[in-house]
Amino acid sequence: MNRVTSGTLHPATDREVAPSTAALARAGARDMTPMVLGIVPFGLALGAMMASSDLDPWAAFASAPLILAGAAQLTTLQMLEAGGNPVVIVASALLVNLRILLYSASLAPWFGGVRLRLRLLLATSVIDQTHFVAVPRFEQGDLDRRGRIAYYTGASVWLVGAWLGSQTAAMVLGAELPDSARLDMAAPLALIGLVAKSVGTRPAAVGAAIGAGVVALGAGLPFHSATLVATLAGITGAVVLDARRRHDVETPS
């Protein structure tokens, strides 16, 4: 991923010559581009599905901006079309989205001190991709609060725009994707790149492996809960291993 260095002349001081807000927003968008390539095929497929469904087309179309999360949107629309119990549909979709709570908790501290109204606005785009792109960038530690807001906003606008645009285009044009191109693999190929970047330490690598293993074993879990269960299992495994490593370091045998 491209990385905007802070453009500083004096890295040791606080009063740095910072890159402009627009430059940081562009950097956020640029770093988000691989994720955009990953979600557009999914957006096109969802849009095509909505165009051919029996649901009220306006309600189906509104689900994209209202839910702003692909897996839960797909779950909701499929269950609605199948005529499921409304309460069960809402519960299932929210269970699929429960992981967003974790992303919110891990992103929010980077926006501490921002006024509430802006924080509530920034929260609208909390999702897998914004979390995975922004948090590692913030952890490099060279962006101030203003820079983080600009970077996050640039990344979010590009992602959300492409997501809503791809669904709208497919719904209006009724686009069909050629199966042979295997564009459905764009999302896993984008995400595996993020895996490669996020497994720098052994606990992180073990957490990712546990997440993948548990989701496969738990594929049949009710209400599409396998992803959430696997995520929590991966976090637990990583924390336990991390604590043990720290313990070993502190008490050499």
């Binding site: 209202l66 989205n97 919110s104 891990s106 590692p136 595996i192 490669a196 993948a212 989701v215 990583a238």
Partner: protein
């Protein structure tokens, strides 16, 4: 009408999840370490769900898919560039699909 209400409820609930961290100020210190592992664990689960499951149970991925994912992983480990991983992964996918097809 039901469709509208259901979609609205899912949207509102999802936004509540998004906003929780941003509204509750000052998370307790013990949350720091688990939160650091949210990314790898969630990514592993998401990619695993895409590649290792199908029709509601565990599944071995096709050789072409596995090869493409490994190629993308290695590329990103070497270059640190996620976009390049996708650019390498697709030709590998197409070539292996053609070879094994």
């Amino acid at each position: 009408m039901t469709a509208w209400l259901v979609i609205l409820a899912v949207g509102l609930g999802t936004y509540a999840f998004r906003a929780v961290g941003f509204v509750v100020v000052g998370l307790p210190a013990w949350t720091q370490r688990p939160l650091a592992f949210v990314s790898p664990a969630a990514l592993g689960a998401l990619v695993g769900g895409m590649l290792l499951t199908g029709h509601g149970h565990a599944e071995v991925p096709a050789l072409a898919e596995a090869g493409a994912v490994v190629a993308a992983f290695v590329t990103v480990r070497r270059t640190g560039n996620v976009g390049r991983g996708i650019l390498v992964g697709f030709p590998v996918l197409w070539a292996l699909t053609w070879l094994t097809g």
